[in-house]
């Protein structure tokens, strides 16, 4: 995947570039908003990562300019800690996702993967299948083999989110945002307890485990 990172801070840029390259991505860097706009509009990138605070042209204006220039690549905004307004403004301005600084690389990588490999049709798919686990998004039915699995509405949403990202790590924060619409950090283990409930329901009777915990990163669902 070819990624453009627009980031003025050298240390952050080096950290992100190194991590993403090790994860197999091709990363280009622009140091300010104007260079970012020039490159984003003139070249073809699969993903744009824009810092909110940039010299010259700030990230939000850059985002709007990029969208106005007809660039439809997914955009991940990096916002400062404690700036709710930035998140709202970023999403309204056409960003696909946002990440609050300082972030762990695992969090960034998970979001980059979720954005980059998102296939346009994927959201429309009604039947999600992993090994012998199936989830029918229309009829809201979950089956493991021949057994139907009874899930609470929120548990269903959680499993759906994992299955939409099958094979890719989904972080705790991503799940809080997408399943519960929580844009704050709850002090308790909401995600963990829900995951263990789902596991208990779908892994009954010694079936091979499908949902895996990736330490320090999040969860991934994949075929055994």
């Amino acid at each position: 995947m070819r990624i453009l990172l627009v980031e003025d801070d050298d240390e952050t840029a080096a950290y992100v570039i190194k991590g993403l390259r090790e994860a197999g991505q091709v990363v280009e860097r622009a140091r300010d908003g104007k260079e970012g706009l020039f490159r984003a509009a003139g070249e073809d990138f699969n993903l744009l990562i824009l810092d909110r605070m940039l010299p010259g042209l700030d990230g939000l204006s850059l985002l709007k300019a990029v969208r106005a220039a007809g660039v439809s690549s997914p955009v991940l905004m990096l916002t400062a800690m404690g700036a709710i307004e930035d998140r709202v403004a970023g999403l309204e301005g056409g960003a696909d996702d946002y990440l609050v600084k300082p972030f762990s690389f695992a969090e960034l990588n998970a979001r980059v993967n979720a954005l980059g490999r998102r296939q346009p049709l994927r959201e429309e798919e009604t039947a999600l299948v992993i090994a012998d686990l199936s989830l029918d998004r229309l009829r809201r039915v979950v089956k493991r083999g021949d057994h139907s699995v009874e899930l609470q509405p929120r548990e269903f949403r959680l499993l759906e989110e994992l299955m939409l990202n099958a094979g890719r790590i989904v972080t705790r924060t991503m799940l809080l945002e997408r399943v519960w619409d929580f844009h704050f950090d709850p002090g308790t283990n909401i995600v963990e307890t829900h995951i263990s409930r789902i596991r208990a329901k779908i892994d009954r009777g010694g079936d091979p485990a499908l949902i895996h915990t990736v330490r320090g990163a999040g969860y991934v669902i994949r075929a055994p």
Partner: protein, 434 residues
């Protein structure tokens, strides 16, 4: 004022001087023409008699009449023959002149018989009149000045004393004593009104400063523990020869830094909420759906610690607000109940709409809070119980309070007997939430 007085005095001096002289000249001249006429019509002896008669009159002018030979015919003015017209003549030796070199103002005119008549007035008279007049002006002026100053002082004295008190109180606050207050008078004048406003402002500043101090202390406490752990873990990792042990230390240090960052995030969130910008994007919030979504999220957690969670929803009036922030406030209240109510407790999350308010209530039947703590919780919103040592626990309630303020709602803590009842209440006016 003094300058004005001096100027007026100087002006009076010159004005009176020329006026007095002018007056003398007029008097002397009219006397001269009267006597000349007398002499012309009645003859010399009549004029002589007239002069004599006039000399006897008290306060009269001084006269002298010379004949054509230059001998004095009559008169009490002992001077040499002057030339006709106006002149000043020194009186070399006169009891009336004292040390003053002030002279006589003399008017001489030839008589029809070839003699010379002179009439004079002592300028000292005029001078005395003038001095008397000026001293009268001076004393009247001085009295007026003193009276004005005295009256002004008496009138201003009260105000000055009160302004001093105001200024002293502000100086004390400036020096760091935020408990200083302006003495409040019962009056309804400007100074009392200012004093009351200043006191209200000072009370608000005092509360804010106290809160900031407490919150700062709390944050410092909250940060000290994880930062100490980070340092210890990094030292251990740096000293270790074993790669696995080093990785373990680094992972622990990272967890510590995450704790620190969480506290920072909470502080920044608090500051952002208090800045009030979120109010500009308030929208209709479906409280029932929100309460269910948030409370439901905690069900597994609550049930995992052998507590129970009960959600009671009733239809409520519409509220304008920020759904994300209300969700966070409710989440914090549920976490608080979950964390401190103890094992086996029942947590009830309730949405009610009564005549006076729309309320989101989180109630538990745990240990509860003492009346003092409940009062303090509303007042200060800092960590209540030192034993409640979870990082950021104090900030959690501070954030709830800030979100309530932002929404013009009230955060209330009540005794649920047993347990604690925390409520976010949107007061109604005229049966609706404004």
């Amino acid at each position: 004022m003094l300058a004005a007085f001096v100027l007026a005095g100087a002006a009076a001096w010159f004005a009176t001087r020329s006026a007095a002289e002018l007056q003398i000249r007029e008097r002397v001249q009219s006397e001269m023409s009267a006597l000349q006429q007398e002499m012309q019509l009645e003859g010399l002896p009549a004029a002589e008699a007239a002069i004599r008669a006039r000399m006897e009159t008290p306060g009269a002018l001084e006269y002298v009449l010379w004949d054509e030979n230059g001998s004095v015919v009559v008169g009490n003015l002992y001077i040499d023959r002057p030339s006709p017209g106006w002149s000043f003549v020194d009186l070399p030796d006169s009891a009336t002149m004292e040390e003053d070199e002030e002279d006589l103002l003399v008017f001489a005119q030839a008589t029809p018989n070839g003699g010379l008549m002179a009439i004079a007035d002592d300028l000292l008279h005029a001078e005395r009149v003038r001095t008397a007049m000026l001293s009268a002006i001076f004393w009247v002026g001085a009295m007026a000045l003193l009276l004005a100053l005295g009256a002004g002082f008496l009138a201003a004295r009260g105000a000055l004393v009160r302004m001093d008190a105001l200024s002293n109180a502000l100086a004390r606050v400036g020096a760091g004593d935020t408990s200083a207050r302006v003495p409040e008078g019962a009056g309804r004048d400007d100074i009392d009104a200012v004093g009351r406003s200043v006191n209200q402002m000072l009370a608000r500043i005092d509360l804010l400063v106290t809160n900031i101090r407490r919150v700062s202390t709390d944050i410092a406490h909250d940060l000290r523990t994880p930062l100490t752990h980070v340092r210890q873990n990094l030292e251990t990792g740096a000293a270790s020869q074993d790669i696995a042990a080093t990785h373990d230390s680094i992972a622990k240090a990272q967890a510590g830094i995450d704790d620190v960052l969480r506290i920072f995030a909470a502080m920044l969130r608090l500051a952002e909420i208090d800045a009030g910008a979120a109010r500009s994007r308030f929208a209709r919030v479906d409280l029932a759906a929100l309460v269910e979504r948030v409370a439901d999220a905690y069900r597994p957690d609550v049930e995992a610690s052998s507590q129970s969670l009960q959600i009671e929803l009733s239809p409520v009036a519409a509220i304008d607000g920020d759904a994300d922030l209300i969700a966070q406030a409710l989440a914090n209240l549920i976490e608080n109940a979950h964390r401190y109510a103890g094992a086996g407790a029942r947590v009830i999350v309730r949405l009610t709409d009564t005549a006076d308010a729309v309320r989101i209530v989180v109630e538990d039947n745990g240990a509860g809070m003492s009346a003092e703590d409940r009062a303090r919780a509303v007042e200060a919103f800092v960590r209540l119980d030192p034993s409640r040592s979870a990082p950021g626990a104090g900030l959690g309630l501070s954030i709830v309070a800030a979100i309530a303020r932002l929404h013009r709602a009230e955060l209330v803590f009540e005794d649920a007997a047993p347990g604690l009842r925390a409520a976010l209440a949107w007061p109604k006016r005229d049966g609706a939430v404004p």
